[in-house]
């Protein structure tokens, strides 16, 4: 698990720092953007740049690699692909929007559409439904009026 790995930290820190220094402001934004599309793979389940990375065996190295990739001015896709090649598809924080992975994104909206449609149909059916008649056929209108008055009195506020 996480040990005191200060050597590794300082090394990676240096890599990141020099890389950051070498980059312009645009690269900075790209680093930040891409870093939020990747996961730390140590098992902490956190976004790479938000991983509490000191002592984490992976994230320092990954940050270094990302900085290097950004510095080489590769395209975003290429950088992310390099990570996928190296760490497997789970390194991407969310499913891609290609192939079967697209299903992940589409289904919630599909469910929303389905829900809204069924709700509208349901509401329509309901408002056309006839009101059940209350079972008071055996009573004369006079009596009912008396009870009605009683109900009104007892429920003023």
């Amino acid at each position: 698990m996480r040990g005191f790995s200060q050597n590794r930290w300082s090394l990676a820190g240096l890599v990141v720092l020099t890389a950051l220094l070498a980059m312009g402001a645009g690269d900075d934004a790209r680093f930040n953007n891409l870093g939020h599309k990747l996961m730390c793979v140590c098992g902490c389940n956190q976004v790479l740049l938000e991983c509490n990375h000191v002592g984490c065996a992976y994230s320092d190295r990954m940050r270094g690699e990302l900085a290097a990739g950004v510095e080489r001015s590769e395209s975003d896709d290429l950088t992310l692909q390099t990570f996928v090649q190296k760490y497997g598809p789970t390194v991407l924080i969310a499913p891609t929007s290609t192939g079967f992975n697209r299903v992940a994104w589409v289904v919630p909206y599909f469910a929303l559409a389905l829900g809204v449609i069924s709700l509208v149909v349901l509401a329509r059916n309901w408002s056309h439904r006839t009101q059940p008649v209350s079972n008071s056929a055996s009573q004369t209108p006079d009596m009912l009026d008396a009870y009605r008055r009683q109900a009104r009195k007892e429920t003023e506020l």
């Binding site: 209350s134 009573q139 009596m143 109900a151 009104r152 003023e156």
Partner: protein, 85 residues
């Protein structure tokens, strides 16, 4: 421990004290409470200005009809009980 537990579970001297059975009458009382509650809410919403008078009147009328039906049935059941006893 086991015998204590078994004693508690199976030793039932005398008559059991159970709650009342649910009757048609108690069911009607519950219904009446619900309809009354709805009537009070309706009154309240009307006084708070959430519905126009015309809507209020029709809705009040339908709820009062419902309440009257229930009250009538309660009364006739109670009379029936009285006669029986």
């Amino acid at each position: 421990m086991t015998s204590l537990v078994l004693l508690y579970v199976f030793y039932l001297p005398g008559k059991l004290r159970l709650g009342p059975e649910k009757t048609r009458l108690s069911f009607l009382q519950e219904r009446k409470e619900t309809v009354y509650e709805n009537l009070r809410d309706l009154n309240f919403d009307f006084r708070a200005g959430k519905l126009p008078e015309a809507d209020f009147k029709t809705m009040e009328r339908s709820l009062e009809d419902e309440a009257a039906g229930i009250l009538a049935e309660i009364a006739s059941l109670e009379r029936f009980e009285e006669q029986r006893s």
